[in-house]
């Protein structure tokens, strides 16, 4: 009795299903469907109970078919059928066959789709799959496959019919259709989850039939969705092994199918698969050339649909392809080159009008993706510069910046002159800027960042041969000079220091004839250095190297005098290791020092800046050992004069005091002038007309600073102090 009551309620519910005419939106149908589904679940549980109590399902199966209306009858039948299989009273495949035949009775697209969806859901765990309890006499995987394929076929047919029924507007009809794609896809989900579907079964039984189905239906929406679904549900390994057929099937689809999206989703999946499994690609590669296959089919698509497909989409396809190539074959540069080659062909075929901003952005992506892994090797890609030609100057700069960043971050040294030349030709707009654009004003932070990258680039150049290194640095210098004074402020110091480092690395003390007579102040003689430095005359004439440095510094001396002063002074320090007195180089060294003084005098006006500059000059001269007496004398005298002319008396006092060290150097070694100097600064200290305690500070600091000169001087100073007090 209870049984009949239950059945009646269920029956009533389903009248609702029948009653729903096409004017009800499909969404509401789905809601209704879910309600029914849940109710029928209760019914199913009830039947399972009954079965446990010993009731024969066969009887129930028969009696349910007595229901009057077709649709409810079928829903009930499926519910009972599911329990019937569970009871194992009969073979599963018989029931499956029966149910699927019965379902043909509903030809209304919406109702039919949901009915068959219900069928799938109910029979989810009741299929006679491999290793299931229903296998054997009840059926096998093959039966499952056939069942599912047939269901798919019917559902697809119904789905296609929806294209022509329903609302008057085609777009709405198609939209409605799309909303239901998931119920059709469920078949494929079931297929892929079958245990018995291994690679072989897939290759022999499943894939060919699926492709046949897809191709024959000739409906773009179906084809698009089903193809995509296949790629999503089946394992990546299957796809790799059957790649040829898969790609082939893709190219045989209807014209309006967006093959590009399918390819891209496939390539992205396989790229991720390659990333996660170390040898995935390599293992398969032994039998199949994966890249080759992709190339073949992508080219085919490009050829056949190239004119019709938007340029933007074509390039996006290439972008996905290059991404796949980089992930799966990180060291195969030639693959990237091939992709770029076909990209060039695409660009050439297009009229220039169709090249939109979006296209160019995608083109930039295409060029930038290989940079991280390939870095400098991109110069071996012949088609890279060809593609760059299509970019606007602004975008060229973007790509150039990415190239520079890649080179700097990867820290791979640039070892040949040729590479430097190539690199510079690629990054010209980055180094030199674009005409008509004031980068520094538009975005100061980015400008500074860019220039810092350019400066870092210098240090990446490490040619083994010093002569080549010098040539490379000269090339870079010329490039930097084209960038203008604002850029040179950042880039030139880096370059100049690179030159100094080269000097230290590769030059020994200049082997002039007179030099051989002078004992070197360094330990050991030139020919027996343990570190294996150059023997005999150096390959680079030091004069040349420092002249180049001098020119570089000169080019920024007007715009950035403080920086230039320090660079000149570091030049002097650098020469300490290399230059000897009486040589042409020493004269150049004198030029360096005197230019520093000239700039100090003429170009630096700020009081504090002047003090800082003059103290640095003194510090440098204190270390310099290679000047001749006359030269050093002149420099020192001038320096002292400038110190005396500093604006603040305290600064004068301290600076003159520091100059004392110069008179103590080996070159001058003049104790009289040391005394004179100390007295002068002491005197200045007294003159300083400032508050009492401040003046004490000055005296103290005077004593403090004068200590290194000689202890006797301190007592003299203290004596004077006591006197003043």
């Amino acid at each position: 009795f209870f049984f009949f009551f239950k059945q009646k309620t269920a029956y009533e519910m389903q009248r609702g299903l029948v009653g729903s005419e096409m004017c009800i939106r499909d969404r509401y149908y789905y809601v209704l469907f879910m309600q029914i589904f849940n109710d029928l679940k209760d019914l199913e549980d009830h039947f399972l109970d009954e079965k446990r109590k010993g009731r024969r399902m066969a009887d129930v199966y028969e009696s349910v078919q007595q229901a009057a209306e077709l649709l409810p009858r079928l829903y009930l039948l499926i519910t009972v059928g599911s329990v019937f299989i569970e009871s194992q009273e009969t073979s599963a495949k018989e029931i499956l066959k029966d149910l699927i035949e019965m379902s043909k009775g509903i030809q209304h697209p919406l109702r039919g789709l949901f009915l068959r969806y219900f069928l799938l859901k109910k029979l989810k765990d009741r299929l006679p799959d491999k290793k299931s309890k229903f296998e054997g006499e009840g059926g096998n995987t093959s039966d499952c496959i056939n069942f599912l394929l047939q269901n798919l076929f019917e559902m697809n047919r119904l789905w296609m019919r929806m294209q022509h029924v329903g609302s008057k507007d085609k777009a709405t009809r198609e939209a409605n259709r799309q909303e239901l794609n998931m119920v059709v896809g469920e078949n494929l989900v079931r297929l892929s989850s079958l245990q018995g579907v291994d690679l072989q079964t897939y290759q022999e039984l499943v894939q060919p039939k699926l492709f046949e189905l897809i191709q024959n239906c000739k409906d773009p929406i179906s084809q698009q969705y089903l193809m995509d679904c296949i790629i999503q549900v089946f394992p990546d390994d299957f796809h790799l092994q059957t790649l040829d057929k898969l790609l082939d099937a893709c190219t045989k689809l209807h014209n309006s199918v967006d093959v590009k999206t399918i390819f891209i989703s496939l390539m992205d999946r396989l790229a991720n698969y390659a990333n996660s499994q170390a040898n995935a690609i390599a293992d398969v590669e032994k039998n199949i050339n994966i890249f080759g296959l992709f190339k073949k089919y992508i080219d085919k698509v490009l050829e056949e649909q190239g004119i019709a497909m938007e340029l933007k989409k074509l390039i996006e396809l290439q972008v996905a392809f290059v991404r796949f190539s980089i992930k799966s074959y990180p060291d195969k540069i030639e693959y990237v080159n091939l992709i770029l080659e076909s990209s060039v062909k695409i660009m050439q075929l297009q009229p220039s009008k169709s090249v939109t901003d979006d296209c160019l952005k995608s083109l930039v992506k295409l060029l930038v993706i290989p940079l991280d892994t390939l870095s400098l090797s991109i110069f071996n890609l012949a088609h890279f510069p060809t593609l760059m030609q299509y970019l606007t100057p602004q975008l060229l700069k973007t790509v150039a910046k990415k190239i520079v960043m890649a080179v700097v971050n990867v820290r791979k040294p640039i070892e040949t002159f040729d590479t430097v030349q190539r690199l510079l030709s690629f990054i010209k707009p980055f180094i030199e800027g674009i005409a008509g654009e004031d980068e520094a004003k538009d975005d100061p932070y980015e400008f500074e960042e860019n220039q810092n990258y350019a400066a870092k680039l210098v240090h990446q150049i490490e040619c083994k041969d010093p002569v080549t290194q010098l040539e490379a640095l000269v090339l870079l210098k010329e490039a930097f000079e084209k960038g203008g004074p604002q850029r040179m402020r950042y880039t030139i110091p880096s370059l100049v220091f690179s030159l100094y480092r080269l000097a230290q690395r590769s030059l020994k003390r200049v082997t002039e004839e007179d030099e051989k007579r002078r004992p070197s102040s360094d330990s050991g003689s030139e020919n027996t250095t343990p570190s294996g430095q150059l023997e005999g005359p150096p390959k680079i004439p030091p004069l040349k190297l420092y002249q180049i440095a001098y020119q570089a510094i000169e080019s920024i001396s007007q715009a950035h005098p403080e920086t230039a002063v320090r660079l000149y002074l570091h030049g002097v320090l650098s020469m300490n290791n290399v230059v000897s007195s009486g040589t042409d180089c020493e004269e150049l060294g004198y030029q360096f020092a005197s230019q520093a003084l000239v700039l100090y005098q003429d170009e630096i006006t700020d009081t504090d800046a002047k003090y800082r500059a003059i103290t640095f000059i003194i510090g440098t001269l204190q270390k310099a050992i290679f000047f001749s007496f006359d030269n050093f004398e002149t420099l020192t005298t001038n320096t002292v004069q400038y110190c005396a002319k500093l604006l603040k008396k305290q600064d004068q006092c301290k600076a003159i005091l520091m100059c004392t060290h110069l008179f103590m150097s080996k070159i001058l070694n003049d104790s009289d002038r040391v005394d004179k100097n100390l007295k002068k600064s002491l005197g200045l200290c007294g003159i300083c007309k400032i508050a009492e305690n401040k003046s004490m500070d000055l005296y103290l600091s005077l004593i403090h600073i004068s200590e290194p000169t000689r202890p006797e001087r301190i007592s003299y100073a203290v004596f004077c102090l006591k006197k003043k007090k």
Binding site: F497, T615, H661, L700, H704
Partner: protein, 168 residues
């Protein structure tokens, strides 16, 4: 990385720093120690201990931290301590040959300090440790309860050459 573990940073103007408000010298208190910092290009001759001692007296500090020479050093002069962390990156110097990358870790507890000099010599990490106390006095047991402060000293050539102390 050096910059990720800090809680506060103190730095002084280096040779190439062009920020207008950057100070040439700083003094801070760490534990019982007065610590002075100066980049060192101001102290002529560069690297000379006596000149640095003059700055130490002027700043009235127990420990003076300095740089510019790119050469790590721990010195004692007249009962005061001088620390040069060297160059953290082993950056090139025009007047110091063969720069070795190095930095200093200074651990202070009350009046006790331990200096760890970390260097990379021929590809290997080497650590040298030295201990000292303020005024050279043995600390009494009660004093050891004071909290410990660790400071990282380094010369950064990232943009310019300021000397930094980072309190851990």
């Amino acid at each position: 990385t050096l910059s990720s573990s800090k809680t506060s940073t103190v730095f002084v103007r280096g040779e190439w720093d062009e920020f207008p408000d950057m100070q040439e010298t700083r003094t801070i208190k760490i534990g019982d120690f007065n610590v002075g910092i100066i980049h060192g290009h101001q102290a002529i001759p560069w690297g000379n201990l006596e000149t640095l001692a003059a700055y130490q007296r002027e700043l009235d500090c127990d420990i003076l931290i300095y740089g510019h020479t790119h050469q790590n050093k721990f010195s004692v002069y007249d009962g005061k301590y001088f620390l040069n962390p060297g160059s953290a990156t082993g950056a090139f110097s025009t007047f110091t040959k063969d720069v070795i990358p190095s930095f200093i870790l200074l651990a202070v507890q009350g009046g006790n300090a331990v200096v760890y000099i970390y260097q990379i010599v021929e590809g290997e990490l080497k650590v040298v440790q030295t201990q000292f106390t303020k005024n050279g006095v043995e600390t009494k047991p009660e004093e050891e309860k004071k909290s410990s402060i660790t400071c990282l000293l380094y010369t950064s050539e990232a943009a310019d050459e300021g000397i930094g102390i980072e309190r851990g």
